[in-house]
């Protein structure tokens, strides 16, 4: 092809920056037009930010005994304490811990476990789904039947089972230390099936397309085809499931912690706080339960609504 004249390349129109393209995209337009999406995105951002910045935002560290004053125990919200005269926005618990601070630190644990569990489930599910869809045959049968079997059990039961088994293998003094990681493993393992099924389906569609054939015939390896060609094209639905799974994982973590098998009292998550709070419900100290529960509700609801909007926004047929 060298005999053809090579002209000076034409001046390429300056490509707009990625950010400018994002602001101009259908995706962002649909976001702007949906008040539900904007509000829930704002709420999620607020909650994530306050969790990340908890040490800076919280009035005190509720798990540092030096900052606690037992005399502050059972202060009602916005009322000066009868003994010390201190006022707490959301009241205090029996130990005199500021409920607002415990919520911020609990949110940290809940969100960390949620994100980490979804990330783990995503990596596992996407990998297995890609392999099942692309390789097919026995690999596919093995992976997908395992997924089907796991789906016949409620995922919270699977998580409890995994949590129990893994904890049983750990030395007693390491159990509280490792509880968070075991929790992530348990929730992640109970949730990979969704990712694997969706990715397998999308992979089956993509692998029959000609661009995959084109990559095959130039001798690209199956690994390169899966990672470089198919993966980018199946990530849309994965993003949607990841968002909805995040809400589910946070609720699963709260459920496990509420049942007392999740986060230990030394690292209380929102679920642990709710469990602790429900003991005081009938003696009139409602705020110890109410505010962590409301936080969990707002968090799960806004993540879910955001996921719903994302599903609609990324699905051209629903527009």
């Amino acid at each position: 092809m060298s005999e053809l004249p090579v002209e000076k390349p034409a001046e390429a129109p300056s490509a707009p920056s990625a950010w400018a393209r994002f602001l101009d995209s259908d995706f962002f337009y649909s976001f702007k037009r949906s008040p539900v999406a904007v509000v829930s995105f704002a709420l999620v951002t607020l909650l994530v930010l306050s969790a990340v910045l908890a040490p800076l935002v919280a009035p005190h560290n509720p798990f540092d005994p030096a900052t606690l004053n037992l005399m502050n125990g059972f202060s009602a919200p916005m009322e000066p304490n009868a003994f010390t005269g201190e006022t707490f926005w959301l009241g205090t618990d029996d130990q005199g811990r500021d409920v607002f601070s415990t919520i911020l630190f609990g949110l940290r644990i809940s969100l960390f476990v949620g994100f980490a569990a979804v990330l783990f489930a995503l990596l596992l599910g996407v990998t297995l789904g890609l392999l099942a869809g692309y390789i097919g045959g026995w690999t596919e049968t093995l992976i997908m039947r395992a997924a089907d079997v796991q789906l016949t059990f409620p995922s919270i039961l699977v998580a409890m089972l995994i949590f129990g088994i893994v904890k049983g293998f750990l030395p007693v003094d390491a159990r509280d230390e490792a509880a968070i990681w075991v929790l992530i493993l348990a929730i992640g393992l109970s949730d990979w099936v969704q990712f694997a099924r969706v990715v397998r389906g999308a992979t089956l569609v993509e692998k029959s397309k000609d661009y995959v054939q084109a990559a095959k015939l130039i001798g690209r390896s199956p690994g390169a085809i899966m990672l470089r060609h198919i993966l980018p094209n199946v990530l849309g639905p994965v993003l949607v499931i990841a968002t909805i799974s995040l809400a589910l994982a946070i609720i699963a973590e709260a459920t496990l912690s509420f049942l007392g098998v999740g986060a230990p009292p030394t690292q209380p998550s929102l679920g642990t706080l709710i469990r602790i709070g429900q003991g005081f419900l009938f003696s009139g100290e409602w705020w110890i339960l109410f505010f962590p529960a409301m936080t969990l509700l707002v968090l799960a609801l806004s993540v879910n609504l955001l996921g719903d909007w994302l599903r609609d926004a990324l699905n051209p047929r629903l527009r």
Partner: protein
């Protein structure tokens, strides 16, 4: 001139059985589909060989076997003397692979929607660790697009432009053979001509060899040097283009020509081809064309005709005359 592609006794069988549990319950044997049976053909270097036939005649399967996407069940395909499926020398296989490229039917499915055009075009070279600097820009201009298009994504182009991108990708590794699987059938007629002319020019300029798979006889007339007609996985007639268009010898080829729409005979009444292509899982005995053939005699139902040299053509028909 020497043959770049030698196909001998090529047969490709697909297992189209239901899963074993269904077969067990319904007491059915395994089902096999013979998409291609016993095809012999050779493609000379720097020529265009067109394969024509109805849907399901096995033309795309032959294309996929030639480029190495499917393995032959029987027979062999040699390109530059190397059989991709039997050769054990990895260096030879890699060398031949870079000499073969393919252009697909749908320009909408053959470009990865998440890749920039630059990366798509350069992939055949990048996959072998070659130098890709400026390559995509140069190829884009060669196929009549602008170098600045390299930064765009496939969805920003029309069907004809995308097919040009596919052609640019096919040219990237400096191939000798390009298998074109109905490259224009998804395009508007006006765009078809542009793409075909581009392909013709490139073939002459770069000394390419095309295996052109199509069902469009006008495309064949425009592009081909030699034409092979397939029916139910078998080659029924092969002839130089001019000889074939002057007089088709096989009754099936004659039927194809009769059925083709002609702009100069607008409004003419055409007898539609009789019958449909038979079930390839359970093909007719003898000559596969006999249930639809106007010339069929009793012998055609029993005995499958062998390829015979008749004048310039090779024809598989008991009744064909030179």
């Amino acid at each position: 001139m020497s043959a770049l592609v030698k196909i001998a006794g090529l047969t490709r069988i697909f297992d189209v059985s239901k899963p074993w549990l269904n077969r067990l319950l319904e007491r059915r044997p395994k089902a096999f589909l013979k998409a291609v049976s016993d095809v012999d053909l050779q493609i000379e270097e720097r020529t265009v060989y067109a394969l024509v036939g109805e849907s399901g005649s096995g033309k795309s399967t032959i294309g996929k076997v030639v480029v190495g996407l499917l393995a032959p069940s029987e027979g062999s395909v040699e390109i530059e003397g190397v059989d991709l499926h039997r050769e054990t020398d990895a260096a030879k296989v890699d060398h031949v692979r870079s000499d073969i490229q393919m252009i697909f039917q749908s320009p909408f499915a053959s470009l990865n929607p998440r890749w920039k055009v630059r990366d798509i075009i350069a992939e055949p070279v990048a996959a072998r660790g070659g130098d890709t600097k400026g390559l995509s820009e140069r190829l884009l201009e060669q196929v009549g697009l602008a170098a600045g298009d390299a930064d765009k994504f496939p969805h920003e182009f029309s069907g004809g432009q995308r097919q040009r991108i596919c052609i640019a990708r096919a040219l990237a590794s400096n191939p000798k053979l390009i298998v074109c699987d109905e490259p224009t059938s998804a395009l508007d007629v006006s765009v078809q001509a542009q793409v075909l002319n581009l392909m013709s020019d490139l073939q002459e300029d770069l000394g390419l060899t095309y295996l052109f798979i199509t069902h469009d006889l006008t495309v064949v007339q425009h592009m081909a040097d030699t034409v092979g007609v397939l029916y139910l996985g078998r080659l029924v007639e092969e002839a130089p283009r001019d000889a074939l268009f002057e007089r088709a010898r096989h009754p099936y080829t004659q039927m194809l020509f009769e059925a083709a729409p002609r702009i100069d005979a607008f409004g003419r009444e055409v007898d539609p081809p009789k019958g449909e292509i038979p079930d390839p899982i359970n093909p007719p005995s003898g000559c596969a064309f006999h249930p639809r053939c106007p010339l069929a005699i009793e012998r055609c139902t029993r005995e499958r005709p062998e390829m015979r040299q008749l004048g310039p053509a090779r024809v598989a028909c008991h009744m064909a005359e030179p």
